[in-house]
Symmetry: C3
Subunit: 318 residues, 3 copies
């Protein structure tokens, strides 16, 4: 989809904010992955620190609790030598009746350089990005069902690392696609990078009707959907969905859509298995697969730090 | 009021703790504002960091939750290169039955250099300051209804920035003066700096009777009180007061004491509008005024970081 | 007790993890205390910081809330120039159904160098230590009733500081030995360091039956147990035990086992009084003793930072 205006790009085409993998040009995604290459090696050093963001103020603005995601951004910012401030905004200003944008204005007035924003509402990071003054960067760390672009990028980094190129790949995304911002961010990135065969697999109740318009094919039978895949991306099943109207039970779900060794055998022998974490073992994935030789779930985490460092370094123009 | 003993001063007259703007000599206030001038520019730099507190341990000791205030001190300390430890003491030691002073002794024994203290009880910071050994500085970040001296100082910085001098100013403080530590800290600072006409405006139920003794004039009619003002400081109305015995309703309050464009027209045309935040839009201030050309509410925040850096640098003798 | 396999030691005999003072060879304990000597002076400097852990990532992994203990490790790590990430895991991943080891794997994949682990379950730190890959160090910051080895070591540092040697000392540990990981860690360390007379004092309900096998003598009469002691270590009485089946009441406990000036007079005149904190004044210790001339409770805290710095520097091989 060509956007006439893309709020995450500057007029010179460079990355200003990272809000979504949708509409992110191919050369920018590739540029971020290449920058991440350099930061992967920083994680292996004795002194895991570079001075790129020294004296910059990064605010982790988490309106939705996520220790795990917050930690990845905090580590990434600290390894870039930034000053990091963590703000969990459930019990604070917003409970005092202050609006989201007043909170942001206030923090921006403290000479913030970057906001990493997690919010339960889709569009929150966009709203903030359109509001802040030039020179302040916004990174979307997950907004509602909409987007989780750093997860999308780290997934692309992981796929590229193991499979080298995208033009000849078949990638399956399995599970609760309906509620998954990870699925949306992955699909947009895969499409942009030229992946010719992207599949989503799940029960009818958990596959949104608009997904076909995103250039993917839909499977409700997992065995058929995995046939010949190079990459299998399992999605997390939210606990709170499990006994609702959309799903019979965790046990039933596992039977149909849990990734087992047997089901994985339908994919290519060298297929890799991914998961954004945290995993529900025995619900969407069997432990034999999660800990098996095809799993690249922990490398995803390692690459995720490097990708976040790359994004942060890029949006501040460093 | 001349104090025979001022616990925030050293025997040589220098600032040891910042507990209150009450009893703070004029030259010390002016010195802090001048030091803050230098730190304002640090916030505009590429590398927003100076090594003044490198290797110092600053404890943010918050017995009352305030993400916003804690953040300003955390940012200020980090830009001075201090090591900052945040402690929210609701759910911790004090719930284990440890006394306030045992907690402080314990942290002081970790070679603390500075405590930034927020507490719901008036006098908590004084108590701590009188208890700690020489070389440990205490900054009051708000104690009950008593004082919020860094807010008072940043308000003075803001007024001086826009109005240059104090000797010819009329300043109105509007709203819930009764419960406001900000109002108290502002009044003491304004009086000390030679402001000849300080007014408080609010309903009888929210103006303490002793306020007249502080050298201010009292107005219950807002239009009259704003007449000819150079500076209008709006106070935050605590949500929890709104439907109590002291106030009819938020709507009624706004009608009488909310700052609108119309009411503001009674002040001088170049009057500035201030607010300590977070604002209740539509309760104590109309959005047209809060976001209008006379509002200096966001510059207050920016100056607030510089003022806190100045206070921190001064009390450690750097 | 000689262990055939000691998970906290490397094959070359050096310290890999600090999980327990049990099975820790004498020369390693002495080495840690000597290293701590050097770090005590760092706490007195103008710039309380050394670059030993610069660019290392230390995760404070607290599955059980303890602001006080977390703070000591955070300060220690920051004075060693490490990047520190605090994780309180009550409300996070584990509530999302992720297992302890998945959480650890995930954080380890972020290139963690060290985990400081606090957990309500005995053995949690061991479990993590056996799981992590080489090069990642685990420090037990308290696991259930089992061990609190840095507290044990700082107690040894304190005793050595005031009493010089262990071979001629009588040490009494008083109170709720049954539930105390501090008591266990102290007993193992004292025994290893050659202390000839270790006594535990408490009511029958709070002295575990196996304690005699640890080489200590048991006293139920406090006056007799304190007779001739050089060191008196008071244990914290958990509030939640106080009105349970094991104890009559806080008042009754104080009468029998609270340390008063009168009871302390049975010990040697130069006996020192220790407590791991936070104290319940009037329950296990009288304020006259806690604040008295024989109390070394606050020096324990100061030494505790240095001992934790020594442990951290040692396990990363710095």
């Amino acid at each position: 989809m060509a956007l006439t205006f893309n709020p995450q790009l500057r007029s010179d085409g460079k990355l200003k904010h990272l809000l979504s993998t949708e509409g992110l040009p191919k050369h920018l995604i590739e540029g971020l992955l290449e920058t991440a290459d350099q930061f992967v090696s920083v994680g292996d050093r004795e002194v895991k620190k570079v001075p790129i963001l020294r004296g910059k103020s990064v605010f982790n603005l988490f309106f939705e609790n996520s220790t795990r995601t917050r930690t990845t951004f905090e580590i990434a910012a600290k390894r870039l030598s930034a000053d990091v401030i963590n703000l969990n905004i459930n019990a604070s200003s917003t409970t005092k009746g202050e609006s989201l944008l007043d909170t942001v204005d206030n923090l921006a007035a403290m000479n913030a350089d970057m906001f990493v924003v997690r919010h339960a509402e889709s569009g929150a990071a966009h709203l903030i990005a359109q509001h802040v003054k030039p020179g302040v960067a916004v990174i979307n760390a997950g907004d509602g069902r909409h987007a989780h672009p750093t997860q999308g990028l780290l997934d692309m980094y992981t796929i590229r690392h193991y499979k080298t190129a995208f033009h000849n790949l078949t990638v399956a995304i399995v599970g609760d696609v309906l509620h998954s911002r990870v699925a949306r961010s992955d699909i947009h990135a895969l499409t942009t990078l030229g992946c010719p065969d992207v599949r989503v697999i799940g029960p009818k109740t958990l596959i949104p009707t608009e997904v076909a318009r995103m250039g993917v094919s839909v499977f409700h039978d997992m065995a058929r959907g995995l046939e010949g895949c190079d990459v299998v991306i399992m999605l997390r099943l939210q606990n709170e969905r499990m006994n609702g109207a959309l799903l019979p039970s965790a046990h039933e779900f596992f039977k149909s859509y849990g990734l087992t060794t047997e089901k994985l055998a339908r994919a290519k022998p060298d297929a890799i298995v991914m998961h954004p974490g945290p995993m529900n073992r025995g619900v969407e994935i069997d432990s034999l697969v999660a800990d098996g030789r095809q799993s690249v779930i922990l490398p995803q985490v390692t690459f995720g730090i490097a990708v976040r460092m790359a994004v942060m370094a890029t949006v501040v123009g460093a």
